[in-house]
């Protein structure tokens, strides 16, 4: 049944009218097909409406087709706030600051590794630390950790974990300017120190995939992708460092929201004016966590490359690295004006029409659920006009973790992966049902919606061969 609060604007756009009694400053917009509508929870609609009440919000509170209930912001939420009149919200970024995906493309073909997939998955599993409390096993000083926070992937490359060419293919070149370590708590540093270079747990993963289909020859060729090619996809973020930075500022902003007389429908939406000392402090600490995440993924790539090199005497080039939990100061054309806005993407991916290093549209990496396809998309002009240059970030959950564990067994899920010739490695088999395809929306449908809306163009489809679940 379609929720009575939603008004259909076109085939894929549903609007929540601006309701001033609720304090909404702008309308909400949710992008869904009829097929995805059945997954939409009333709580997610409410969360889209709640975000629309925050000061300085511009145009719409948006939700991508992988939308589902989160805490504070919905997952799949995108909102832009005026740089002078608007706010920044730690809850609008999330605890896992700069959680994101990275894709490496090898010179190998599916056929070349098919017989070796068990060995390769095991070797990668042994090389890239994964699971609860996983540690990166790196030795470095506190001063170096500060450099990680300040310079991100650039620090990693300068420290020997990759080459300068990698930086060209990272969002923001793998380094967020404006990080200030004096705004990062000692506890955040302490949590971050041992975990650099580790995957983490939950929905974080490392997959060995092959390019199953190419849809856009030109972009695929520019990104270095061809049919049958073996790729490695990583999904991870800023580990305990980012979690603690978000925790610290959320706590601090509980009182600050009152100081700035901001009325909140949900305490998790705590926020402060972007153009305030509090706002600048958070933004500089968030930038530090984002840099940690870029360094983290760069170090894991180094370990992946080391395995590929040792096993197959070949390399793996970086296709792209992109964040999906982040806030950025960007310039967008809004109602005929160039406007500076803080775009919050909470479970949403930047999808710009132009990438400087490639000279075509920006690559967008969208992982599917465990055992299903992932996609390489690219940004579009339409995304710049309608979603502040954003698109979906994954399939989006439909089933609670509790329900997944009740309805599915790890034996059943691993057996179904085995039937699809997918090798799985994890240190927590009991959590496997939580990431099963049944717990997520169908990724192919989510991708067809962003494609039909024109907010992304589909470049390639990748299919998993080996999965390391964090």
């Amino acid at each position: 049944m379609i929720n009575e609060r939603l008004v259909r604007k076109d085939d894929y756009t549903w609007e929540i009218a601006k309701d001033e009694t609720l304090g909404m400053r702008v309308p909400g917009r949710i992008f869904l097909s009829d097929a995805l509508m059945r997954f939409l929870e009333p709580a997610a609609i409410q969360q889209v409406a709640n975000v629309a009440t925050l000061p300085g919000i511009v145009k719409w509170s948006l939700a991508m087709p992988d939308v589902h209930t989160g805490y504070g912001f919905p997952i799949g939420g995108v909102a832009a706030f005026d740089a002078t009149e608007g706010i920044v919200s730690p809850g609008g970024v999330g605890f896992d600051i700069n959680c994101g995906t990275r894709l490496l493309a090898t010179t190998l073909t599916k056929e070349e590794i098919e017989q070796e997939i068990q060995t390769l998955t095991t070797k990668l599993y042994e090389s890239v630390p994964a699971g609860l409390g996983s540690k990166g096993s790196l030795r470095f000083s506190e001063k170096e950790l500060d450099q990680v926070f300040l310079r991100g992937a650039k620090w990693a490359v300068d420290s020997g974990y990759g080459d300068a060419g990698d930086l060209k293919h990272c969002e923001s070149n793998g380094c967020f300017d404006g990080a200030d370590v004096s705004n990062v708590s000692p506890l955040a540093k302490k949590r971050g120190m041992p975990q650099l270079g580790s995957l983490g747990s939950g929905n974080h993963f490392l997959e060995i995939q092959f390019v199953d289909q190419i849809y856009e020859e030109r972009e695929a060729s520019v990104f270095g992708l061809r049919p049958g090619q073996v790729c490695i996809m990583l999904h991870s973020g800023s580990r305990g460092a980012g979690h603690q930075i978000c925790t610290d500022y959320l706590k601090l902003f509980q009182k600050a929201s009152q100081k700035y007389a901001i009325r909140l429908p949900d305490r998790q939406l705590a926020c402060v004016p972007a153009d305030s000392r509090d706002g600048r402090s958070y933004f500089s600490a968030m930038a530090a966590a984002a840099n940690y995440a870029w360094a983290n993924r760069q170090i894991m790539s180094y370990r992946v490359r080391d395995v590929i090199e040792r096993e197959f005497s070949t390399g793996a080039g970086l296709v792209y690295d992109v964040a999906h939990n982040i806030a950025k100061l960007e310039t967008h054309h809004i109602d005929g004006e160039r406007k500076e806005v803080y775009v919050h993407r909470k479970g949403a991916t930047r999808a710009f029409e132009k990438d400087e290093s490639y000279g075509v549209a920006q690559p967008v990496l969208i992982p599917g659920s465990m055992g299903t396809a992932s996609y390489v998309l690219c940004g579009t002009t339409k995304a710049m006009q309608t979603t502040f240059g954003s698109t979906c970030h994954g399939a989006g959950r439909v089933m609670s973790r509790k329900a997944a564990k009740r309805q599915l067994t790890w034996k059943g899920v691993t057996e179904s992966l085995r039937q699809k010739h997918i090798t799985l490695k994890t240190d927590d088999l009991s959590a496997v049902p939580e990431e099963a395809p049944e717990a997520y929306k169908p990724i192919d449908e989510v991708i067809s919606v962003v494609s039909a809306l024109g907010i992304s163009k589909v470049v390639a489809r990748l299919v998993p061969m080996g999965v390391i679940k964090g």
Partner: protein, 136 residues
């Protein structure tokens, strides 16, 4: 009265804890949190930790308490098997018993990233009740 129960939440983990008083409520909430991260049956009460905290409301005190347990788990690698919590106003004193985490002895489960303020509530009817959402 149950100690705690897990609720349906699409993305994350939510639970409701119960107690005859605030101290007992916090003890049960601690057990719910620890049970997500580690198989508690394997954790012996062989070491102790004392935690004292002060906040502005019961909700804030609960947020601080669970966040503290999370940090002790991740940074000190200490899992709490049981605890005795006493509260005075919005201050808390907790004596926690548990063990240093050893992956060869303990079955580690899921990483909890953080405690959230989302729908965080402490209420009192016939008994105390708290609702907590965790980011996992």
């Amino acid at each position: 009265m149950r100690k705690y129960e897990f609720l349906e939440h699409t993305a994350d983990v939510a639970f409701r804890a119960y107690g005859n008083n605030v101290g007992e409520l916090f003890e049960h909430a601690a057990e719910a949190l620890e049970s997500i991260m580690i198989c508690l049956d394997d954790v012996a009460c062989e070491d102790s930790r004392v935690i004292t905290l002060t906040s502005d409301t019961y909700e804030d005190l609960l947020y601080d308490w669970l966040s503290e347990l999370l940090v002790i788990f991740e940074v000190d690698l200490f899992a709490v098997r049981s605890c005795r919590v006493t509260t005075t106003g919005f201050s808390l004193h907790a004596e926690c018993l548990g063990a240093k985490i050893d992956p060869s002895k303990h079955r580690l489960k899921e990483e909890v990233k953080a405690v959230t303020y989302h729908e965080l509530k402490v209420t009192k009817n016939a008994y105390f009740q708290a609702q907590v959402t965790l980011d996992v």
